[in-house]
């Protein structure tokens, strides 16, 4: 990084959310952007994910529609920043009982009404799309807009594009305090002070701590997910399999379903890994003989009501926040909308459902 200390925009957090915002800001010719991160990109949540770009079944339906808008931006993003292995595989969410089929029918109906392309598949249709899937399947919901991306390549290409746009990065630099003096933010870090007119909090799990520096309460929770990685196998899982798994383009299968509250404990635990193995084999019986190469775990950041926190922070002028689960799915849309908000004070798609102010209204 250079020796500049004054910026127009500082973004704290260099994950898929922070980098997506930096990319769209700089693509719209915003100058003088600094991105700060306490570690190196991919060391947090953005680097420990199956990286689905997932739409159908999200609740409420308006939020599913919001994620669909983001999925639709991926092809253009890939055209601009380079190969990120985005694959619109279609998403299959299987079920194994008649009771679940009733739930699935309801979901298909209400999501269709909300503008999400989703349909119910019979057992035969599932097995036609996924010939190696368990014969015990009863049916599935399916949407052609679901898919996945390579999160490592996504971050790499974002960072390279941002550097080409003269965005400055400061990695391994933890923020130790933030205050506001004479209308400007002063960001105190391990590597000295930086000032900015506008500040964006996009620190994922750490956004709660960042908000506290400015007396802003950020209601988010930490939820661990554990994942099994197999050896590379010939391509045999063709879709993204909702709730459970996908096959990477280079061959390994990723399996994981778990959601645990374990603070910031990123260890793998044998009980969950055993259960994950069992479900993987229940879905694709041929996986039984596949070798496991590794397990990993990641900590999701989930706002307390389950939907994103995006937009301005009303009590602090020129302060913006973007913190959410499903950061990979939402990255292109969040980048687009937050950059519009920061530069033009308006957004092309409404974000009123996602304002942080909704939490303070509840407590009144």
């Amino acid at each position: 990084m250079n020796n500049q200390r004054e910026y127009e925009v500082i973004i704290i957090g260099a994950g898929v959310v922070g980098n997506g915002i930096a990319y769209h800001l700089s693509d719209k010719k915003q100058k003088n952007i600094l991105v700060i991160d306490k570690g190196f990109p991919l060391s947090g949540t953005s680097g420990a994910t199956q990286a689905w770009v997932w739409v159908h079944g999200k609740k409420p339906d308006t939020y599913a529609y919001f994620t669909k808008c983001s999925a639709e931006l991926y092809p253009e993003l890939e055209r601009k920043i380079g190969d990120i292995e985005y694959a619109r595989t279609g998403g299959i969410e299987p079920f194994f009982s008649v009771e679940e089929m009733k739930e699935a029918e309801k979901m298909v109906q209400s999501q269709s009404n909300a503008g999400i392309p989703v349909e119910l598949l019979s057992r035969e249709e599932v097995l036609k799309k996924e010939p190696y899937f368990s014969q015990n399947v009863v049916g599935a919901t399916y949407s052609p807009v679901d898919g996945n991306v390579n999160p490592f390549k996504l971050l790499e290409k974002y960072i390279k594009a941002n550097r080409a746009h003269d965005v400055t990065f400061s990695f391994y630099n933890e923020v130790t305090g933030i205050d506001k003096k004479a209308g400007k933010f002063v960001v105190h870090t391990q590597k000295g002070k930086f000032t900015a007119e506008k500040l964006v909090l996009a620190g994922g799990l750490w956004t709660k701590k960042l908000g506290a520096f400015l007396n802003v309460s950020v209601p988010i929770e930490k939820v661990r997910g554990q994942i099994i990685v197999t050896e590379p196998l010939k391509p045999f899982i063709h879709h993204t399999i909702g709730g459970m798994m996908r096959q990477m383009q280079c061959g390994p299968v990723l399996i994981g379903y778990s959601m645990e509250k374990a603070g910031y404990d990123r260890r793998s635990t044998l009980d969950i890994i055993q259960e994950t193995a069992k479900f993987g084999i229940q879905y694709y019986p041929d996986l039984a003989k596949a070798n496991v190469v590794r397990c990993f775990s990641g900590i999701r950041v989930i706002p307390e009501d389950g939907i994103p926190i995006l937009g301005k922070v009303p009590q602090v002028d020129q302060l913006y926040i973007a913190v959410t689960h499903s950061g990979v799915t939402l990255s292109p849309l969040i980048g687009t909308l937050m950059s519009e908000l920061i530069m033009k004070d308006t957004t092309s798609i409404s974000i009123k459902d996602y304002q942080i102010s909704r939490f303070s209204k509840q407590s009144v």
Partner: protein
């Protein structure tokens, strides 16, 4: 060693791939691993860890002994998925519809 020298034989990662991520500011083996897949393959960094660490040490002017080891995870060597099956094989299949949504 030249640009095309393969450092990670499992994932075909070359010397120039490593240079590219070191120039972005990577400081540990795991930083390099996530950007390049170096060490993510079947040997889980047993073959490449030392080579990569030497390179980081030289580039960042830090002693080799100060470079943290890669994060070890189970299993230590490859095992078949079925060997992880527990005792109670009768559990119903978990799905998002039965369990609430876990989709990323």
């Amino acid at each position: 060693m030249n640009e095309e020298t393969i450092i990670c034989p499992c994932e075909d990662v070359t010397y120039s791939d490593l240079e590219s991520v070191l120039s972005l500011g990577a400081e540990t083996f795991d930083d390099v691993k996530r950007f390049t897949r170096c060490g993510m393959g079947s040997c889980q960094a047993k073959a490449c860890f030392y080579q990569v660490s030497k390179l980081i040490s030289k580039r960042k002017q830090i002693p080799l002994s100060k470079i943290p080891y890669t994060h070890m995870r189970l299993p230590l060597r490859m095992i078949p998925l079925e060997s992880l099956l527990g005792e109670d094989k009768e559990k119903p299949v978990k799905t998002s519809l039965s369990e609430g949504h876990a989709n990323e």
